[in-house]
Symmetry: C2
């Protein structure tokens, strides 16, 4: 059973989140991912952890572990002539280049699309920027939070009447990572047909706009500007969290049939009344409905509510903590966790979000040490030990290779 | 210039969000999307709008418009023998089937993977479920909110010390849509190599776990369970929204270099102090730092802050409303909007989140009316008017075709 991208080589110049998350998915699909790191390493190696924890983890942060399995690492100083020359040789043998520098940076380094496609016309060049490569904001830096703000996502997240909040995870980055993956896979299909490489662009801008698309359409249709609604939304009622004795559960009974079953199971006297019986009337009477439902759920445990509503096929789910979610038996059952051997410990990792019947899940190799595969990869390029020493003396690795040995 | 999926036919049995969003992307890439709707139509046609607005929109909701361009619609009653027979004929000529029914439903209808792949071994069968097709929760229904709850995403979204909230948009569905797209494109590549179709699974479960992956890894490493932090996060400081005279801006100065530039531009006396100078010390002194920064930003307008910080290359973005975001000049500049002719009005729509240099953006055809292309598609199958009438009399269309004519 061969994997889908066996034999496909990706040169990954990207850092931190969206790019690395994308190449991890490609690696899971069998591609050979060569992570080109600056001599100081991908910043995500040190991200969001205390010095103590970093030491305990052997120098890699949990987010780095989460997004960098199935890769090899080469440390190269791209501002050094010898370092640049190696990178160019790697480009000649690559199928795909991925980067997420600001527009213009790769061009200044000598790795712009025009230059690289002249070296290798079959090359697929995946470019991920903040706001795109044209337009008034093209030059601005940004990250996930900036695009949560710019896209309006923050403005619809939070409690009504209180300051809006971010979506707790790096949703624009991670959604962008799948946009990169889909864009690249499409370009590979195009290359199968035509033999030609091309440039594929995505950005935090396009990723966030895609996430907000139905809100924009609604605004464009009639000027509606949505605001935060807590755990509720504007689409239907009930469709939100309700309090239980020991936590919260979300309950969704959007259609009239679901509502009927819900009301029957939870309290026909209080709930099975004409004011709540129809999609439109439930929206009109939402405040009264939410009060009536809350009065009932408050008397029950989360488990009782989930059991009762599951039995009548009403959508219900406990509001889990991160730990409860990570330990969910269901995640394990669907093959959602794989184990990585990170130095001397086994650390679980979440699989890519699609699974094939004809191809096994790629059992992950752990995140690479910085520059860990420099020698291997240079040897694959046909360089011998002496030539590699010369490169080191020329500063191609920024002094890093010795440390990795 | 041919589009990447020209000649690829998708039978789309999916409804509401993730599936339709996925097939819209495939349609944008040139695939022929045949939306198989029940005679009552995809529920999303009527979703989240008042009766008045629905009438004004010509019977389609904004969310339906946002996710259903570049498709044709056939209304079929799959529980009717004649309706089922047509669907089977369509399967024989399809490359891809997409559905998001609960596990078992397609099997009971006679459209399970085993049955369809026997009819058409090259078929790619994309299955999107709630919690996956195995495990203790496989049979449970769910939607975006349920998986925001189950995955722990809600538990990390909101203000500290207050009830958590949902992420304002249907992030699990939309992220899932790109998982479906990537999964299918991978399967098409595999078919190019091997000639074989296969089943590709994704789910709200896998989509949400992917979004939460780095939080799970952190928990698995040392038991850390994150909680809501408003607009801030645990990765770095400052990395959150700050108040301005006329709104809010997010400011991200994660690295020490960025912080240096930020402090220099905004107020060296108050900010360029040893307590704030390093990544780790900014995390330790976050409360004092946020107060000091807020005291400065409160005196300035959003535009002033954005201008001043952009000039020193610190990441900054205004917290836009949905309307400001939709009307953003940058979205327009990067080709993020295309115009759809929906009945007698032009309605903008957001593009798919990746763009090719060798292939144009597919100028969208508007969302189809329910069953609008039934006749066309049956004629393509070789049926003549009399045969189509017979099918109608047999109830294949659930009485719908006449209405669409």
């Amino acid at each position: 059973m061969t994997n889908i991208l066996d034999g496909v080589r990706v040169l990954d110049f990207s850092r931190v989140f969206a790019g690395p998350a994308a190449t991890q998915v490609l690696g899971d699909m069998g591609a050979d991912i060569i992570k080109i790191e600056p001599p100081t390493g991908d910043e995500a190696r040190y991200y969001g952890v205390s010095k103590d924890k970093l030491a305990e983890m052997g120098g890699v942060s949990p987010s780095f572990v989460a997004l960098n399995r199935n890769k090899r690492s080469v440390a190269l100083d791209l501002r050094n002539a010898a370092g640049k020359e190696i990178a160019q040789k790697l480009v000649e043998k690559a199928d795909i280049v991925v980067h997420n520098f600001r527009p213009g940076v790769m061009e200044r380094l000598g790795f712009g699309y025009e230059t690289l496609s002249a070296l290798n016309p079959r090359l697929i060049y995946s470019e991920f920027s903040a706001y795109g490569t044209t337009g008034p904001m093209a030059g601005m830096g940004a990250n996930d939070l900036a695009l949560q703000a710019h896209s309006g996502l923050i403005s619809i997240t939070g409690e009504p009447g209180r300051p809006p909040v971010r979506c707790g995870t790096a949703i624009v980055d991670l959604h962008g990572s799948l946009a990169i993956v889909a864009g690249i896979l499409g370009a590979l299909l195009y290359r199968e047909k035509t033999g030609e490489g091309q440039r594929v662009e995505s950005s935090l801008m396009l990723s966030s706009a895609h996430l907000m698309s139905y809100f924009y359409t609604e605004y464009w249709v009639d000027g509606t500007v949505r605001e935060p609604m807590g755990t509720a939304n504007h689409l239907s009622v009930p469709n939100q969290a309700f309090p239980a004795k020991d936590g919260e559960v979300v309950i969704i009974a959007s259609t009239d049939e679901m509502w009927q079953r819900f009301a029957g199971a939870m309290g026909p006297e209080q709930l099975d009344i004409p004011e709540f019986s129809q999609v439109f009337s439930r929206r009109t009477n939402r405040v009264a409905l939410i009060e009536a439902v809350s009065a009932i759920t408050r008397q029950m445990s989360c488990a009782e509510i989930v059991e009762k509503l599951s039995a009548v096929k009403v959508v219900v789910a406990k509001v889990n903590s991160v730990g409860e979610a990570a330990d969910s038996a269901q995640l394990q059952a669907v093959g959602g966790k794989i184990m990585l051997q990170v130095q001397d410990r086994q650390i679980p990792s979440v699989v890519s979000p699609f699974q094939y019947s004809a191809v096994d899940i790629n059992q992950g190799t752990p995140p690479p040490g910085l520059g860990e595969h420099t020698n291997d990869i240079l040897q694959e390029l046909g360089l011998d030990a002496e030539q590699i020493d010369d490169l080191q003396n020329s500063g191609a690795f920024g002094g890093l290779r010795a440390a990795a040995e």
